[in-house]
Amino acid sequence: MSMELLLASGLGVLTAAGVWLLLRARVFDVIVGLTLLSYAVNVFIFLTGRVRIGAPPIVDAGRAPTLANYADPLPQALVLTAIVISFAMTALILVIALRANAQTGSDHVDGAEPGEGRAEGQGP
């Protein structure tokens, strides 16, 4: 029980920190926020297979093939996919952010410092 409580509150802290950073106006903070959020999500997916210690994920002849005797291997497969995708997406947004920073000279999410006003061009 204490393990569940620890994991759940850890997830809560990670998510809260991620959301708080996500709502800030600097691209760097937003990216760190997204990273924290994706960590929280990955652990969450992993935990949907329930917290089990010492249970094998592969069916053997000696035990009845129910989830009472085994760890659920599917969330582990799902979390691998989610990790790969979130890693690639973080790399991508980092590239876009660097490019935007180089072109606008500002790391504000709107591409201009507050007070300078947004450039009104809408065209191509």
Binding site: L92, V109, P124
Partner: protein, 524 residues
């Protein structure tokens, strides 16, 4: 259709074409453009044959890797999937054709690297999302189509696009995180990810987990609402569509329809009638939010000062109409929505292409609604008038038929007064906005000088793409009867979900062409 593997062709064909294009585009750009066009044309033919195969109401299932349904990932092709595939293929052909044309800044597809390859990967993601019968696989295809769309949005570069990209990417990454939370909560509760299996298991969820299940269901719809651009999750749409280059914006029109498709699929299959604690948990929210989306889209269209933004708000209005039909949730309203979907997708894509082609001669003014010189104002004006009438939902075009189908079908709903008011008033607002834009751009236009006229000469591929889409918009009127009966049958099939569940869960594995175990023994 005797070959069982046709269903996976809409996913594999763009993948192969995209991979080949990556190799070719640098050395042989002309060949790459032709190959891309050929691949999308072939894709259209495949989509037509798949639609023909579902016309009799059968649901085809395809077991990936020959694993039985709840354990492996299955693809399912029913009327709705086939309709979406066909629509995607049609828009794709027009967009690629337009991209091969020559604008004032050179060829559209040469304004940035990898246009055709990214385009094909985006098609792969779209088709996969329409075909898959597995929730986690749907997430993966969402990511495929999103990562390609990030690249396509940046096509043509520029600060405006970079700024729109950052908002768009961050918004969608957050959406993906919520998607994963919703999907894994559903998995934790039911132990399955196959949509057909989920539909069977959800009614027997114990009462103490009902709250968690409802949270997961609503969270899933929030994620799809981000894609479909429903109030209050639509703020990314106008910036993104306003900033994208024309062929990309035209393809993105189908991207909001992915969200609508997913909402229609999950609310009918998993959270519809007899779904225990989540039965009709989404619909009451959906109708009200759709009404708000419609109203705000009309206000946005009235306030828009740039033609591209105006069209983006029209896309938003169409999303509101579609979600309204799905939210009301009867066979009649869903059928009306699907009919409107076909029409509005084609017309909105055509408008994006038309605006881009038209503003070429306006020089500095671009797509801003100010008087400026305009070459061949007569031709463009006629086309704009036709498309504006079509998109506003005035007779004789498909929008009128779709909207009246929805109004008639919603007569006996408790929300009827709200639906009639919102649909009619938003249509009026859109008519006013379009009329104002048209009168500023066409009637106050100065005649263009010879140089501007020469610069604005629309190239043959551009004309071809526009003709294809306008022709398709007219075809939805001429063939309104058959299309309406097809969408009515589609709505029936969606609400009567037994066929889908039986087809996916009952799909037989193919007998092995060779027995690996026996062969292994021989080797030993």
């Amino acid at each position: 259709m005797n070959w069982a593997h046709w269903i996976i062709v809409p996913v594999v064909l763009p993948l192969m074409a995209g991979a080949l294009l990556l190799l070719l585009e640098r050395e042989r750009p002309a060949l790459a453009a032709r190959l891309s066009l050929a691949a999308t044309a072939l894709h259209l033919l495949v989509a037509i044959s798949l639609a023909a195969a579902t016309a009799d109401g059968t649901v085809h299932a395809y077991l990936l890797g020959n694993w039985r349904a709840p354990f492996g990932i299955a693809l399912a092709l029913d009327r709705l999937s086939a309709l979406m595939l066909l629509l995607t293929a049609l828009i794709a052909v027009a967009s690629v054709m337009y991209a091969c044309g020559r604008g004032p800044r050179g060829r559209h597809d040469e304004r940035g690297p990898h246009f055709h390859a990214l385009f094909q990967f985006q098609l792969m993601g779209l088709n996969g999302a329409f075909l898959t019968a597995d929730l986690f696989n749907l997430f993966v295809f969402f990511e495929v189509l999103l990562i390609a769309s990030y690249g396509l949005l940046l096509h043509g570069a520029g600060v405006v696009r970079l700024r729109a990209s950052i908002h768009y990417v961050v918004f969608n990454l957050t959406g993906s995180a919520l998607f994963l939370i919703a999907v894994s909560t559903l998995y934790g509760l039911t132990g399955t990810l196959s949509m057909a299996d989920l539909a069977q298991r959800i009614p027997s969820i114990p009462a103490e987990s009902a709250g968690l299940l409802q949270a997961a269901a609503l969270l899933l719809v929030v994620v799809f609402g981000v894609k479909a651009a429903i109030f209050p999750l639509y703020f990314w749409l106008t910036d993104t569509y306003g900033a994208a280059t024309a062929p990309v914006a035209a393809l993105f029109v189908i991207m909001t329809k992915v969200g609508v498709y997913c909402i229609a699929r999950v609310t009918t299959l998993m959270f519809g009638a007899d779904a225990g604690p989540v039965s009709f948990v989404v619909e009451p929210w959906l109708s009200w939010l759709a009404l708000a989306t419609l109203a705000l889209a009309a206000f946005g269209a009235l306030a828009a000062w740039h033609l591209r933004r105006l069209v983006a708000y029209l896309v938003l209005a169409s999303a509101g109409m579609l979600l309204l039909g799905v939210g009301l949730g009867t066979a009649g309203t869903i059928a009306a929505s699907l009919f409107y979907l076909v029409h509005s997708t084609v017309v909105a894509a055509a408008l994006f292409l038309l605006v881009d082609s038209m503003v070429a001669s306006r020089g500095e003014a671009g797509d801003e609604m100010v008087p400026a010189p305009l070459a061949s104002a007569g031709g463009y004006g006629t086309l704009y008038f036709l498309l504006a009438v079509a998109v506003a939902g005035l007779p004789p075009f498909g929008g009128f038929i779709g909207k009246s189908m929805l109004l008639v079908a919603s007569r006996s709903e408790p929300l009827a007064v709200g639906v009639w008011t919102a649909v009619l008033l938003s249509s009026l607002g859109i008519v006013v906005a379009l009329a104002r834009a048209g009168s500023t751009v066409f009637w106050k236009a100065a005649p263009a000088n010879a140089m501007q006229t020469a610069a604005a000469q629309a190239s043959a591929p551009e004309r071809g793409a526009l003709a294809l889409l306008v022709g398709a918009a007219c075809a939805t009127v001429v063939a309104a009867g058959p299309i309406a009966s097809y969408t009515e049958a589609t709505a029936q099939q969606l609400l009567d979900r037994k066929g889908y569940i039986a087809a996916v869960l009952g799909a037989e594995t193919a007998p092995p062409a060779w027995n690996p175990r026996a062969d292994m023994k021989k080797v030993k």
